[in-house]
Symmetry: C2
Subunit: 401 residues, 2 copies
Amino acid sequence: MRTTICEMFGVDFPIFAFSHCRDVVAAVTNAGGFGVLGAVAYSPEQLDTELTWIDERVGGRPYGVDVLVPGRIDSSVTDLGTRLADAIPQRHRDFVTHLFGKYGLDAREPLPVSLSAYADEVGRRVTAEGAGGLIDVALRHPIRLIASALGPPPPEMADKARAAGVPVAALVGTVEHARRQVAAGVDVVVAQGTEAGGHTGEISTMVLVPQVVDAVDVPVLAAGGIADGRQMAAALALGAEGVWCGSVWLTTEEAETPPSVRDKMLSAASSDTVRSRCRTGKPARQLRSAWTQEWDEAPESPGALPMPLQLLLAEGAMAGINRAAERGDPGARELAGYFVGQVVGQLNQVKPARRVVHDMIEEFASAVARMRAVTHDDAPAVPGGISFPPEDVEGRETTEV
Amino acid sequence: MRTTICEMFGVDFPIFAFSHCRDVVAAVTNAGGFGVLGAVAYSPEQLDTELTWIDERVGGRPYGVDVLVPGRIDSSVTDLGTRLADAIPQRHRDFVTHLFGKYGLDAREPLPVSLSAYADEVGRRVTAEGAGGLIDVALRHPIRLIASALGPPPPEMADKARAAGVPVAALVGTVEHARRQVAAGVDVVVAQGTEAGGHTGEISTMVLVPQVVDAVDVPVLAAGGIADGRQMAAALALGAEGVWCGSVWLTTEEAETPPSVRDKMLSAASSDTVRSRCRTGKPARQLRSAWTQEWDEAPESPGALPMPLQLLLAEGAMAGINRAAERGDPGARELAGYFVGQVVGQLNQVKPARRVVHDMIEEFASAVARMRAVTHDDAPAVPGGISFPPEDVEGRETTEV
């Protein structure tokens, strides 16, 4: 295929695969797409190990890294100076303890009341300082893209990437954000609709993408609602140069999605997601679960904390919940969940990531062929194959395309 | 163009235009599309007048009628037996009076405290009985489609339409509803995404349409997020046989949108809509306004009543608000609003409806041409023009499409 994006990144297919799993990243890159490793879960040392693993497998084919850099951190958090975990109010810790009790989590599972150095470090990674360390590591590998999932990337990030000749991409949910990102020097805009998994705005992909395409002069990838080739064709029809997919990889063979969560995804309908602050502190689409319902609807819920405090609290709790769920604990299975988009309703089968790419391209080709047929593309004569009926009522001109 | 829908309805372009304005309906039908008149605002006698007007202008070209038939009416409403307006609690009337005072509505505007025979009649029209009268009138005209905007059409409606040889369409927001509608005998499903104006579900068009196409064996129209030819091309890429558009006609020359509301629409961004119960009692996307903010966010708000009581109350109030807004009353302009989808961000110019149709088709043809170029469609050799890179890592087969 040829789009600006294919030429810019040297890929066969303009399919960008966001995943926290190195196996998915390598598989998609090797299938002709472009894998993007979500780096937030790693320390700089771990990230170095993951990228080395990928380098050894992709034979120089292109891949990238995504860091989660919030544009603003709540000042009450950064002003503390010491351990982020200390900023989590007792009332919120107590609510998690209450949930663990209410859902009968196995007593072997330590309650997440002391949030530990682990949580503290995860929290630091989503600060500008923490993300900076990850970016330095990433740029020592032959990456071909750095993406920023939240807000404009810090100027240092753009500067470092530019010095290394690595393009920068940013996810946006509004036209205004897209303009701001391009003004901040971003090379590729990912226009992400509300139907996407993870942090999203409120505007749908169908509405957002053409407006972003019209507003900026850099290539646009479409994200949100894209898990098959018909949706990829729709994204390109809207004016995008390629697609950015996340949810579809979560049920691939290569993904490290906890089995209990993967099973929920395989059986979920598109109406089984919710956009909630209860996992990170910012609105993020995820599976509806006892966790989301309790935080969002229970009268005793203290409400979500700001980013990154809610992320710390939720990830600390989810680590325990997932362990308990894998042991078969029914209450833990009710609480377990993960970020996923509305396309979860289409994910009914575990497939290799390479097969997902190939199926998507085959369906894409079929969709394009179908659209050619709709426009009488086999008929000769009229350019474009479409003629308008004569104007016989209001006396306006006849137009031919 | 040729799709199943084009053949089924004898139209040049599979563009269905939902509008409450007969001028829009006639203009779109005469431009090669298919106009659908929203009948809820009319009495049976008025509807007869409107359809006669259309018949005299479209020269036998196809058009249809849309009725608003809720699948269920709150029993506390229908059990009253007498006047629907009497079922509106004093607390809700008082809140409207409070809003009229707070926003300084001109004293010449009578407060909507006694909701009158007008409201009572509007209410009756959205009951099964009321809609039945409209359907009888519609079937005496050469209509080619009856659409039901809410829930499965009552069996009497489907039976009458079938006896008259008129296909029935229904709007759906989930796959489950699509299956239920087809089981109830519907001939065309309109899969409507959450980004649409008016009554909508939560699933986006991008996600909903392919799932509905796979689930039912009748033609599917896509609705929600469609106001230009790129979006129409996307809809067809998703597997729809055509598009159903509502919002885009609201800013056409022919529309009867109140000028103050039209001006708001022309300057609104896609983020300026909200899905709220405050206008009809069911979640409906509309312009964000002082009306939506007060009902949804003010501490003193009594909350929306069930359909159709909230519709009565809101339409009664809006009639006064619109009159005051047209006199230039600034508070009334803050309160004024109307149903519209997220595409409102694209509506920046008043155009004739015929021009909207032609622009859409021209953009559609360009989008299809662009997609052909992406797939190397001019290159010979490989069928479909796409080949996959060799599998050199995991040892799986090479696939060619």
